[in-house]
């Protein structure tokens, strides 16, 4: 075991995968010599050569399109999109192409690629360096959507994503890159893409969250605990395919549910969790499900701390469903 930041765990995950399998390639804007703007790919070009870790021209459409071709033809591309906010020129390639290739070719062609991209707020990045776009992608059959929140999961999920036979969008909570540290096995391991993780147990209220919201929810849960409310915190980790059974199990345990994400509320991932529970476990519910989310506005800059859910807002919702 070594203690790594989430960012270091991602670097380690890529290195581990690249050492094990020569077909793993890492590329994107500024990922080579500079090691990425967040330094996630630092040292990769040195260790694996320019052929396996390289910079591309400034075209997300080109990056993902080329990755699809490589994936079709025997490679395991790991494409970086510098900020999730800049992924939209590649939306067509991701949604129309990568996600549908297996289906439309009757399984003749496949697309085992990973698109890594930092998402979320908290760095004073304003409208275009802060967004959480997971919902656009979760609406896309054929894609997998993964979001780690701990160094251990970051490495294990990333390796699993790279080894997965299908396209995976790997969203990295940039606010956690350097702020969380944890124990990480030095060797190769994977974390299953489709099981949620119980962060802490509790019998009164269940909070579902993922990514950068996990530490915030945990903080709120601790504050609730001081007021005698035992809160179960669940990190979804993989949004698509979702661990539906797990969600229902944890919802039923307490009968009081809060869903937290940074992305806007309307048609956000919280709606899916709420609907799943409403359809399958409504008779277990002691209170209406509460959502704590970003507001239905673009992402502001100066006032971002008012926009993003914080422990104050999460605690408010926990107490609300508890006292209902």
């Amino acid at each position: 075991m070594v203690t790594l930041t989430l960012l270091q765990a991602l670097t380690d995950g890529m290195k581990t995968a690249m050492r094990k399998d020569e077909s793993v390639l890492v590329f994107g804007e500024d990922v080579g010599k500079r090691g990425g703007v967040f330094l996630t790919t630092e040292g990769l070009q040195e260790e694996f050569s320019k052929q396996r870790c390289f910079d591309t021209p400034l075209s997300e459409d080109g990056i993902v399109g080329a990755a699809i071709g490589m994936a079709m033809n025997g490679m395991r591309p790991v494409a970086e999109i510098q900020f999730q906010d800049f992924i939209f020129p590649a939306f067509d390639q991701i949604v129309s192409e990568a996600a549908k290739l297996r289906y439309r070719s009757g399984g003749q062609y496949t697309c085992p690629l990973v698109i890594r991209t930092p998402y979320g707020g908290g760095i004073r990045g304003g409208l275009y360096h802060s967004q959480s776009g997971e919902a656009y992608f979760c609406h896309t059959p054929g894609l997998k959507v993964v979001i780690p929140s701990t160094p251990h999961d970051a490495k294990g999920l990333l390796i699993a994503a790279i080894e997965d036979p299908d396209p995976v969008l790997f969203l990295e909570p940039k606010a956690l890159y350097r702020s969380v540290k944890g124990e990480v096995p030095e060797e190769h391991y994977t974390v299953d893409l489709s099981t949620l993780r119980e962060v802490q147990s509790g019998s009164d209220v269940t909070v579902f969250c993922y990514g950068a919201m996990v530490p915030i929810v945990t903080k709120a849960a601790n504050r609730a605990e001081e007021n005698g409310i035992k809160t179960c915190v669940v990190d979804l980790r993989t949004l698509l395919p979702l661990d539906e059974e797990g969600v229902l199990e944890f919802a039923k345990k307490t009968g009081r549910v809060v869903v937290v994400h940074e992305a806007p509320r309307f048609c956000g991932f919280g709606a899916e969790i709420s609907a799943l529970i409403a359809e399958n476990a409504i008779e277990y519910m002691e209170a209406p499900i509460a959502r704590v989310t970003g507001f239905d506005t673009p992402f502001p800059n100066t006032l971002e701390h008012h926009y993003m859910p914080d422990d104050r807002r999460v605690l408010d919702a926990i107490e609300h469903v508890f006292n209902y």
Binding site: D30, F38, L58, D61, G122, Y128, D296, T302, H306
Partner: protein
């Protein structure tokens, strides 16, 4: 038709071989002063960023002549679709440093109401300096659309789309130039080839020899100009603007210049830019060059720069101090301007936020330094 050799006007010794830039003495000095003011604005912003007052800025060092020479070819009734590295265009046309500083601080008097990151300016007055978007290249086809609107109304507006060498790889570059070629749009495409797109050198951005040659593919003239020569940039841009106003269609200009600083205040370029490039381009400083022209024409006395620069620094510091003491935007600005009217669901989200603050105290502002 594409030129390959960069056009220059100002020779080493400041001579211009009789070229008449069509500017009064006062206007020429305005060009010079604007470049120094860009420099002063940069210097103050770097200090503000280093001391944690603002989160981020974009250095313009080395590019000033391209910005100012290019901007000088346009009238106040024209439209500019700038990039984030075009401070000189705004200052040239009379945007005040205070208005720019309000944006750097994202305060309540920022025209964008503190919603955008620093350097993402937006002005309609004294010129249309269109709201800057971070996604590279998105503004290029928009410039073509704005030009079409002016054409439809029979106006003689010319439109500038300014972008970097990296911007030529974007989808917007290709669709924008293609549309403009087909529509014979009154647009000037100004590609500021400053050698680098963050850490990506031009050789890895494109296999072509420079960027002007791409004009051929879209059926428009491509022109290469020495981007550190203010008068040369002005000359080719004026010619392109004239073509635009005469209905002769768009032009792609490639201004060859160099980013003498990092990509941003958070970037360390020494990690990837070879030192020789700084040495080489350091000798071609655009302000020195223009100063030599002013001296040769008897408009400027050697040694006057320090005073002018000190004046510019004082102007920028004063603007920064004012912006710093200006209040942050109000919470309501999170919810306004999403639509023309605030719909019911946003109204109730806003009311919730106000009420939450009363009930549980305010949100914690936190640090939030921008990594790039």
């Amino acid at each position: 038709m594409t030129t390959m050799e960069p056009l220059t006007v100002i020779a080493e010794d400041g001579a211009t071989n009789g070229y008449d830039p069509g500017l009064s003495e006062e206007e020429l000095l305005h060009c010079y002063r604007t470049m120094l003011r860009v420099r002063a604005f940069d210097e103050i912003c770097l200090k503000l960023q280093r001391s944690g007052r603002i989160g981020f800025s974009i250095p313009n060092l080395g590019i000033e002549a391209t910005q100012v020479g290019g901007a000088s070819a346009f009238k106040k009734s024209d439209w500019l679709f700038p990039s984030y590295r075009d401070f000189g265009m705004a200052l040239f046309h009379g945007v005040t440093p205070l208005d720019m500083m309000h944006n750097m601080y994202g305060n309540g008097l920022d025209t964008s109401k503190g919603r955008q990151m620093p350097v993402h300016f937006s002005f309609v007055d004294p010129i249309h300096f269109v709201s800057i978007s971070s996604p590279i290249g998105t503004h290029i086809p928009q410039a073509v659309g704005a030009a079409y609107a002016a054409q439809v109304r029979g106006e003689d507006t010319a439109v500038l789309a300014s972008f970097g060498d990296g911007g030529t790889s974007s989808l917007g570059f290709h669709s924008g130039l293609n549309f403009a070629g087909v529509w014979k749009s009154p647009v000037v495409f100004l590609c500021q080839n400053n050698g680098w797109a963050i850490s990506c050198p031009i050789e890895e951005q494109s296999a072509t020899d420079g960027f002007a040659v791409k004009a051929q593919a879209y059926g428009m003239p491509g022109v290469v100009v020495d981007g550190n020569d203010l008068l040369a940039v002005r000359k080719v841009t004026l010619e392109a603007v004239e073509r635009a106003r005469n209905g002769d269609g768009p032009t792609l200009i490639e201004a060859k210049t160099f980013r003498m600083g990092g990509h941003s205040t958070s970037d360390d370029p020494y990690k990837y830019v070879p030192a020789e490039q700084y040495e080489e381009w350091g000798k071609k400083d655009p302000v020195d060059r223009f100063e030599r022209f002013l001296e040769a024409s008897g408009l400027w006395k050697k040694g006057g720069r320090d005073e002018l620069y000190a004046e510019a620094l004082a102007e920028m510091s004063a603007a920064a101090a004012k912006a710093q003491s200006t209040k942050a935007p109000g919470l309501e600005t999170i919810f306004s301007d999403v639509y023309a009217d605030v719909p019911a669901h946003l109204r109730s989200q806003g009311e919730f936020l106000f009420e939450l603050g009363k009930r549980r105290g305010d949100a914690d502002a936190g640090g939030g330094e921008f990594p790039l």
